[in-house]
Amino acid sequence: MPDAERPPMISREDVLHVARLARLELSEPELEKMREQLNSILTYIDRLKELDVTGVEPTSHAVPMVNVMRDDVVVPCFPREEMLANAPDRAGEFFRVPRIIED
């Protein structure tokens, strides 16, 4: 856990780790700029630590809602051909991607 008193300081390794999690390839100049900008934004966000949030329930949604249910009836879905029409690469009725499993 980050130390609550310390200003955030994202390292180059942190940026690389987060970029991997986010599936984002960053160039060398992008990486350093990203590190600086994220640190600047996180320093601003740090003001949230001024507030006492003990016992405050989190809000995940602006309007409190419960589950919305509908009758379980079959409705038509989009034709396969229409959905595949946007695919950058396809093989018959499938989306084609680079090999995932080794021989």
Partner: protein, 485 residues
Amino acid sequence: MTDTPIHELADAYRRGETTPTAVTEAHLARIARLDDRLGAYLTVTREQALRAAAASDARYRAGKPLGPLDGAPLAYKDVLCTRGVRTTCGSRILDGFVPPYDATAIERLGAAGAVMLGKSNMDEFAMGSSTEYSAFKPTRNPWDLARVPGGSSGGPAAAVAAGLAAGGLGTDTGGSIRQPAAFCGIVGLKPTYGRVSRYGLVAFGSSLDHIGPFARDVTDAALLLRAIAGADPRDSTCLDAPVPDYAATLAQGVRGRRLGVPDEYFIEGMDPEVERAVRAALDVLRGLGATVEGVSLPTTRHALATYYVIAPAEASSNLARYDGVKYGLRVAGAKDLIEMSSRTRAAGFGAEVKRRIMLGTYVLSAGYYEAYYGRAQKVRTLVRRDFEAAFGRVDLIVAPMTPNVAFKHGEKEDPLSMYLNDVFAVPADMTGLPAISVPCGFSAEGLPIGLQFIGKALDEPTLLRAAHAYEQATPWRTRRPSLPS
């Protein structure tokens, strides 16, 4: 014809003074003449618009128009899916994407007889406050081409302000309808969260995304909202509440309403011309019979910081779908799936989108989740409580829309200074409360200033009445930018 509100156009159609085709052609001609300079549109759907207008002509000839929006030429922000018409989100990553369906809001406007002129420009994935982050081109402010129109819905806002559309749709996740409306001198309405279905809206921050209208006046905003609002089985967060006839009760005015003015919305460093215009507007509202009192929203200085945790967190999750598999861009030559996605995303996303994805992924990552995301969700509760307390005393909150007028292209290079522009806008998104920006004056340089009203949940009727009363008592809506006619 290109500076007339929709409700007046409809009257003229009914009287046979003009036709939807003539008005649509006038708007298309203006787009052809001016949009090279303004950059409001990404796609102009000329043929489709003329077909829709001809069908509308026929309905008026038969004496059977579909309603007040029949024949209204509109611009739609390019974040809303349109069946058969490319939808870019202002991004390269959706390269070649043609949606197989219409967004609910667009489908409903089509069913009401509205004419789509085209898809308009925006900051990539609605992330930005200036429309400079569009992957395709910047949009210019019709009042001063050296300045930004605001963002992220800068395209439709500029189109409406410049007479390149009679109205439009934008989206507001952190001010993206209201801030450009203020910068462009038009009306921009963000309804209550869930009032309008998000089906077919390309997701940015799912708990914060709102669709709403741009209009030349409050009456048009009321008509557009009524057409797009209401339950939709395709969006489970869409509210199943009756949709009032907002326009019908506008004349009831603001007399006897209690208006709260938050001290925290008059900050150090704000443009004194903006403050003067807003204070003068409060006098007008008093003159119309409203009472004005101070209220306090103490967490205002924390709301923006909260937003910049929650919105990027939701965005990082929503934008995970752009992996180069099902639609849009794919970079060739990758040796495996992860490399393909990582390189596709590197090539397809712009700098601001990458920043938000990185920030969002970081605040959600192991070890930081509670410190950032968990805490921000709790502060979001505190922001909501501030408004609940204020609305225990007043009917509406009135405040400046932005701390400043439209800034110049390239003026805000530091991401944080861009973010700070939305300091008065994000609380209404965080709380889901309905809010509207209406013009309340001009700076000495002739740039529009926006007045913001924030209402109680689902109380758009009171919100619109107050905005309408103010609008009718002031001359601002009659002023037009000096573009060639």
